[in-house]
């Protein structure tokens, strides 16, 4: 029996690449979390409004014996909702574009699913395995390479143990895809998500849906720019687009105790980024695409049942991805005291699988905190008016983030002459001071620019009581 299990494990490590397992677990976790995020959203909403939120449906659903009447604080609510969405009539109004109407929600989910691929869940794991290479093989390294699963990287030379047995030490990244342009990939893929909204709005053949889609486009175009610039502030510092490496470079301490996370050295860039991901994820106060008060439901007015649920899923999963990127860029990803590897130069490398899993848990927990911030903000701030939204992006965020980028580039060039391989304490302090200076300068300069044009003010309609020239008598 034991032999059989051992054989099974051997077969597993030889044939199933780790990224496949991680992909399965990561996607499963994210999708399940989305359901519970909706519960959390409702809970946060009710807490803010002095209510308790859904607290009736337990996991027994009133059917399963023993736990039938346990309420569990509403833990069964998301599953009950999901079941409702599945069995509900999937209504499609007359006059919609039949293909695009179905494609749009699917597109939304697809985009989010593929964007999870590059998230650095847990650094790099180093492990070894004994494989058999037939004697007389010319290139042992190559032969060993061929026997390992895809994505594994051999460290050093395979050690000969006698006979045809070799011990191979190899590393694999604890993430789905180890892409060296991870950040670029995320930015590209996430901006595709708006296509789901636009296509959905267009296919619905409904003026409100269409307006919602249009707003989403304008929103996205405006906020992509400061988002990219805020990300560039970090990229310029470290000179890499690999999310795993970006995290690894934040894995040390300043002055022994302060974690070297980018949020400490670049708070202004972090705030820019945070504001932009709110817009990117179509969340309040930038959720003009689904402004209930003006556009009924916005782009998903005509959607119901599972198609609507997929839009929802996409929106919340998008929140997870953007928050995860935020954590990776500004909060040191999986970095946590005690989870760094033994090698100070490569703190991401660890031999323990448990450490990797713990890192993933930490990463997810940090992401959860950012998501909570999303919800907290949503139930605090009212929605921006459309002209205010545009004003904030074009007159506010874009100039500020440009200034931020120039400032960061200046610091990197003047104090180091090259990108950092890990920000030292002094450099971080300099960056922080420059950040604050930039913020101060912006405030100073902003008082000098002429005020914004008075839009959306009362217009004196001819003939009204506000008109300066009243209509001629009898007119």
């Amino acid at each position: 029996m034991m032999q059989l299990i051992e054989k099974g494990i051997d077969w597993w490590t030889a044939n199933i690449p780790p990224w496949a397992v991680i992909a399965l677990i990561a996607h499963g976790t994210v999708m399940l979390t989305v359901a519970y995020l909706i519960l959390l959203e409702r809970k946060v909403a009710s807490w803010v409004q002095d209510r308790l939120g859904p607290n009736r449906v337990g996991l027994g659903f009133g059917i399963i014996p023993i736990i039938k009447n346990w309420k569990m604080n509403g833990l069964g609510q998301p599953l009950a909702d999901g079941l409702k969405f599945i069995v509900k009539e999937d209504y499609r109004p007359a006059g919609v574009d039949k293909i695009l109407f179905t494609v749009a929600p699917g597109f939304m989910v697809l985009v989010i699913v593929i964007s999870i691929a590059v998230l650095p869940w847990g650094g790099t794991r180093q492990t070894d395995r004994i494989i058999s290479i037939p004697p007389g093989t010319a290139n042992v390294h190559d032969q060993a390479r061929r026997q390992l699963a895809q994505g594994d990287e051999i460290v050093g030379q395979p050690v000969h143990l006698g006979g045809d047995q070799y011990r191979v030490t190899y590393q694999y990244p604890f993430q789905i895809a180890n892409l060296n342009i991870g950040v670029l990939y995320i930015l590209a893929v996430l901006s595709l998500a708006v296509y789901g909204v636009v296509i959905g709005g267009w296919a619905s053949n409904n003026k409100y849906s269409f307006l919602g889609g249009l707003r989403a486009t304008a929103n996205m175009i405006s906020y992509e720019i400061p988002l990219g610039l805020a990300v560039l502030c970090v990229i310029v510092l470290f000179g890499t687009l690999d999310l795993g490496q970006l995290v690894e470079k934040q894995c040390h301490n300043w002055a022994v105790i302060f974690p070297a996370w980018n949020v400490c050295s670049q708070p202004l860039a972090f705030i820019m980024f945070l504001v932009c991901i709110h817009a990117e994820a179509n969340r309040a106060p930038f959720d003009l695409a689904e402004a209930e008060q003006e556009l009924v439901g916005g782009y998903h007015t005509e959607y119901s049942a599972m198609r609507f649920a997929m839009f929802f899923l996409g929106e919340y999963a998008g929140m997870i991805t953007t928050s995860a990127i935020c954590v990776a860029l500004f909060f040191g990803g999986w970095d946590f005291p005690g989870l760094r590897g033994p090698d100070a130069l490569h703190p991401a490398v660890t031999t323990s699988l448990i450490v990797c899993i713990l890192r993933a848990v930490v990463f997810f927990a940090k992401t959860g905190l950012i998501i909570f911030l999303f919800m907290w903000v949503r139930w605090t701030l009212p929605r921006f008016r459309f002209d205010q939204l545009m004003m904030l992006a074009w007159r506010g965020l874009i100039p500020i983030s440009l200034a931020m980028l120039m400032m960061t580039a200046l610091v990197v060039f003047a104090f180091h002459g090259n990108t950092y391989n890990g920000l030292g304490g002094t450099a971080a302090l300099v960056l922080l001071i420059f950040n604050l200076c930039t913020a101060f300068l912006i405030m100073l300069i902003s008082s000098m620019i002429p005020p914004a044009p008075a839009t959306n003010r009362r217009v004196k309609v001819i003939g009204s009581r506000y008109a300066e020239t009243p209509l001629p008598a009898g007119g």
């Binding site: 009710s46 803010v48 002095d50 209510r51 605090t380 904030l392 405030m443």
Partner: protein, 178 residues
């Protein structure tokens, strides 16, 4: 309307700090966090777990219901001998602004009155619970009880007949004497 009667309100100008949104945003986040803290940690919410907790069980100053003046579903009162008090005078159905009371009078089987209602239907869906019937009744036969949680699966079910109205009397007379 004269021009001098029109008050034109200008929206307040934002201060320099307000124009950067962030200070005000942080203040707002603080306010909501205070509420969240109160609910989650100190359990100071404003929720009534309805079927288990009811407003009529709470004191009025804590959000309870003032039963004295509450107008719920109707009841038909009975006299000491258990007979319906109504004399089928049609005062209530005449007074009813919603026209929801339908009475069919018949010769009374009892010597102390001429008529009694053979049928007495109230459409509880049409009723606006104004209490005019109660005011109009000369013999205090129709009254509005404190019962508010009446349900039905069909419209027909919500037309309460004499038997049902008398049953409501039996159920509520203990808590609300005539």
């Amino acid at each position: 309307m004269k021009d001098s009667d029109v008050i034109i309100l200008e929206e307040p100008r934002l201060s320099r700090a307000d124009q950067f949104y962030l200070p005000q945003v942080l203040i707002g986040l603080g306010t909501t966090m205070k509420h969240m803290f109160n609910v989650v940690v100190r359990d100071k919410h404003r929720v009534l777990q309805y079927p288990e907790e009811r407003r009529e069980d709470l004191p009025v100053e804590k959000g309870g219901m003032l039963l004295k003046s509450y107008r719920g579903v109707h009841r038909l009162n009975k006299d000491e001998e258990g007979r319906v008090k109504c004399v089928a005078c049609f005062m209530c159905s005449t007074a009813c602004p919603a026209r929801c009371i339908h009475i069919e009078a018949a010769e009374s089987p009892w010597p102390d009155r001429e008529k009694y209602p053979a049928k007495f239907d109230i459409d509880e869906l049409r009723c606006i619970y104004c209490g005019m019937c109660e005011e109009a009744c000369p013999v205090d036969a129709i009254e509005l009880s404190h019962v508010y949680d009446i349900v039905g699966l069909t419209r027909q079910e919500m037309i309460f007949d004499k038997a049902k109205l008398l049953k409501i009397f039996d159920e509520t007379v203990k808590n609300e004497p005539m």
